[in-house]
């Protein structure tokens, strides 16, 4: 327990160790710690940013989905409208065509009837003339009695 030169040895050793520690141990470790702290802080910030962006993106996605739905509804409504329009048009066209056909048929029938009546009248006239010829037993001059015959025909 004597105080002796060990005191000096210990002091020198201590100073040596402190110097060494200050030179080679402390700075690199502190630097690593600081860098890591910064890295962690950056990482957290990036995470926060990512979260924020995700939120924005999901909001955007919701919005565009909404838009799309609206547009789709519009398109469907338009299509429905157009379809009913087409059906109406087709209906009208068919009806017109039908009317037209009916009118044509009616006209033809009328014509046919007229023709038949004309023929009948002619035949009746001829028959009447022939009958009269037979009755009169003499030839009727067609040319001389054409006027008579025609008025007769018209009367029938």
């Amino acid at each position: 327990m004597n105080i002796n030169a060990t005191l000096l040895a210990q002091t020198i050793m201590f100073i040596m160790f402190v110097w060494f520690c200050m030179k080679f141990v402390w700075p690199p470790i502190m630097q690593a710690l600081t860098e890591r702290k910064k890295m962690i802080a950056d990482g957290l910030a990036a995470g926060e940013r990512g979260k924020h962006e995700l939120e924005l993106a999901s909001r955007r996605a919701t919005e565009s989905m909404h838009d799309a739905k609206q547009k789709a509804a519009e398109v469907i409504a338009q299509a429905e409208k157009r379809a009913s329009q087409i059906i109406d048009e087709a209906k009208n066209a068919a009806k017109e065509e039908g009317d037209r056909l009916v009118a044509g048929a009616k006209a033809e029938i009328e014509q046919e009837v007229n023709r038949a009546r004309e023929t009948l009248r002619q035949q009746v006239a001829d028959l009447a003339v022939a009958g009269a010829e037979k009755i009169l037993r003499r030839e009727v001059d067609a040319k001389a009695h054409a006027e008579l015959l025609t008025s007769l025909k018209n009367e029938i």
Partner: protein, 287 residues
């Protein structure tokens, strides 16, 4: 026990004697073989055990920390690096807490003090007879295993700290400021002798209290280990009494060792914290 014929007093003295190298009475240089011889060597002798063990422990500390420092990166730390960084972070927090000025030396200083003292103190937990017995087998008469139970070691450190405190006081406040602090406080310039006395005691008390606190704690702890070890030494025959003593030694040394882990760490921490505080005071303009 290193010898069959030792009495308890001899055993204790043997454990408290350093292995001293110096000039023997006949004029030659060698290792002192008794406490008296070691005393007669005067100042120019060196305690080989303290110096060498302290050096080895310091080297171990720096070896591991330098290895960790070389591998240190901002990546995920593993194993040794993790442990070292944990300690460094702990020291850094302590320094930031008590040291307000800017000085890149204080934190490494604190780290060195803490780690080195902790390792030296931990030598206390090696069973007290192992290393001295090994030394005895190697032909060395004494071996005091715990460097911090040697006041030379504790005063060595506290004097270095004291020199730093004075150096930074003068550097930060100028020689005039430092002398002014010593002479003009607390009673003004007319109470100069009283001021010098009070502030001088205040200044000298720093290294003395630092060194003696550590030394006293470790010395007392070591002493209790020695006393506990003596209980088992009374093992003579398988009588009830000696068996009881033997059993108590095991239980007591275990208990004291576990309690001592606290003291060992605490003393290293106190030495470190006080050093930081003294350095902080050296950097303050007014105190």
């Amino acid at each position: 026990m290193s010898g069959e014929t030792q009495t308890s007093a001899e055993y204790i003295k043997h454990h408290l004697q350093n292995l001293t190298y110096g000039q023997l009475p006949d004029g030659s240089w060698g290792i002192a073989h008794s406490a008296e011889q070691a005393k007669e060597m005067g100042f120019w002798a060196i305690n080989l055990d303290t110096t060498i063990i302290a050096f080895i422990l310091g080297a171990i500390f720096l070896f591991f920390f330098v290895r960790a420092a070389q591998k240190a990166s901002a990546g995920v730390p593993t194993g040794l690096q993790n442990f070292v960084e944990w300690i460094v972070d702990f020291i850094d927090t302590s320094v930031r807490g008590s040291f307000t000025a800017k000085n890149d030396m204080v934190a490494p200083l604190a780290l060195t003090i803490f780690a080195w003292i902790l390792l030296m103190n931990l030598m206390d937990l090696v069973p007290i007879d192992y290393l001295p017995l090994a030394a005895h087998a190697a032909g060395l008469p004494f071996l005091k295993v715990v460097p911090t139970t040697d006041p030379n070691a504790t005063f060595g450190m506290s004097i270095a700290v004291f020199v730093l405190v004075v150096f930074y006081s003068i550097k930060m406040k100028g020689l005039g400021g430092f002398v002014g602090e010593l002479t003009l406080q607390p009673f003004g310039k007319f109470g100069l002798p009283a001021n010098i006395f009070l502030e001088g005691v205040n200044l000298i008390a720093k290294p003395v209290s630092l060194a003696l606190r550590l030394f006293g704690n470790m010395y007392a702890g070591e002493m209790i280990f020695i006393l506990i070890a003596l209980m088992g030494a009374s093992w003579a025959s398988a009588t009830f009494g000696s068996t009881l003593l033997f059993g108590s030694q095991i239980v007591l040394s275990l208990g004291w060792a576990i309690f001592h882990i606290l003291i060992v760490t605490l003393q290293a921490f106190i030495f470190m914290t006080l050093t930081i505080v003294y350095m902080d005071m050296a950097h303050q303009e007014h105190h």
